[in-house]
């Protein structure tokens, strides 16, 4: 039985996917204009090939679990994260999620160069789904952690790239989400700040958050994850403990 086979949602379930498919339709010819589309539609000539980025995905993640997703490039890992973070609506299947999902994908996405650091904190915080009030109560934490200092009232375009990354990281990790989505473990800035980053990541991972971790690194899966799945060509080919999956992945790569 290659698939993890969740039968039902329990009180402890955090993420539950049932028969999830993501199929991109690739037109055999590119149709660019409405006229072309209508002509081809009438003649019944709109043809598509289906490319399955994810196929028959069934999985269930328990609350507080550190759940690893591993696989080669193009296996569907990022697509799976997009489905869980509700950025991509699956072609078919059921998506069930309990709690606030916070994807720590790209730091500082949504920052505007002309706005000050302070204004960007509020913009970024509300993009993550927080209210003004919630951001206000975290503002001191964010400022202290990012070490931006007086630059907080200067436009972001005057920041160094390290400063932007630090501010982005500080906003994104200021709240402990119910479900944390990690596309590789992040560390930004200079050596000293990287240390702070990894400390904060560890405390988030070890906290009460459920963590979905995508990585290429078998060592990381083995070290951190209680459970993991191995993805290949859009399918879950194996599910088990972090250790089992990392070994399987290594042997798959060596084939």
């Amino acid at each position: 039985m290659p698939d993890q086979n969740p039968h039902d949602i329990t009180n402890n379930t955090a993420v539950f996917l049932k028969d999830v498919n993501v199929a991109y339709r690739i037109p055999t010819e590119r149709i660019r204009t409405i006229k072309e589309y209508l002509i081809k539609k009438i003649r019944g000539k709109v043809k598509h090939q289906h490319f399955y980025a994810l196929r028959d995905i069934n999985l269930s993640v328990e609350q507080g679990e550190i759940f690893g997703i591993i696989g080669r490039n193009g296996a569907g890992k990022s697509t799976l994260l997009k489905v869980v973070s509700r950025v991509l609506y699956p072609t078919s299947g059921r998506v069930w999620i309990k709690g606030i999902v916070s994807p720590l994908l790209e730091l500082g996405a949504g920052f505007h160069p002309e706005l000050t650091g302070m204004e960007n904190i509020f913009l970024n915080g509300t993009l993550l789904g927080h209210s003004r009030h919630e951001i206000q109560s975290k503002i001191n934490d964010i400022m202290a952690f990012s070490e931006i200092g007086d630059f907080i009232n200067a436009p972001i375009r005057t920041y160094s790239s390290g400063m932007v990354a630090r501010l982005g990281f500080s906003v994104a990790t200021a709240w402990e989400p119910d479900i944390l989505i990690l596309d590789e473990v992040l560390s930004v800035g200079d050596a000293a700040f990287q240390k702070k980053c990894s400390n904060r990541m560890v405390s988030l991972i070890q906290g009460k958050s459920t963590v979905l971790l995508v990585t290429h690194s078998p060592a990381l899966i083995e070290e951190l994850c209680t459970k993991a799945v191995l993805l290949d060509h859009g399918k879950i080919i194996s599910a088990g403990s972090g250790k089992e999956i990392s070994q399987q992945y290594v042997s798959m790569l060596n084939k």
Binding site: Y24, W96, K98, G110, H130
Partner: protein
Amino acid sequence: MAIEETNIYDSDRVRSVALEEIRSIVHYKDLIVQLIRRDIVARYKRSVLGVLWTMLNPLGTMIILTIVFSRLFDMRGVYPAYIITGLVAWNFFSQTTQFSLNTTLWGSGLYHKIYMPRTAFIISVAGGGIINIVFALVPMLLIYLVTKVPLHASALLLPVAILVLAMFTLGLSLLLSTAAVFFPDVAEFFPVFISAWMYLTPIIYPEELLMDVLNGWVLKLNPMYHILKVFRLVLYEGVVPSGLEWLLAFLIAAVTLVVGWRVFTNKAKLFGYYA
């Protein structure tokens, strides 16, 4: 660890995506405020005159149009006030629709990174437009004063007229944005279309001019004519619109908004596969 029942998202239990989106917008209301702020602050931050441009812009266009057209139509001193009233409303309409289109198409790589209700971006564009209208009222009132066009108590109904205009504009923006995701041609074609639309709407010339064209059907079938009419009646004419005039404008606006909202939210789940 108590997670509220309301925090559960279940794709099987979403009966109506249109209603789900409204719930989500309520939750993300502070985002809309921040996005409006961002657009206004970022736009004028580095210009010397800053927000003054929102007032100077319609004033400049109005002056040019008055000089050009005052020789064509015999409306004497009343003409500038007539033009600027129509222009303020039209500018809101044309800027909001085109800005929404571009925001949905290229505005935000964010769509692929984090979840947020997508309508938030279009609502914030319309919200920013309403703030621009308020700014543009200053030069407009200046023209009223200079050309001695009196304001009547009916002007107190202006917020209602703006609301009707905004509902129609938001609805159309949602429809256009949806279409543009599937057919990028729409984004290219619309600027041409809207400039033609402007010349078919009595903004820079009196509406009597179009009364005879095709028995007046050019006017009757133009939704913006009915909506602008309410706008201009309360401000320029100083008349409270009749029940029928209100009803017509409101129905057009409400139907467009409901249809636009439903189409956009129903198609939004496919956006990730196209744009």
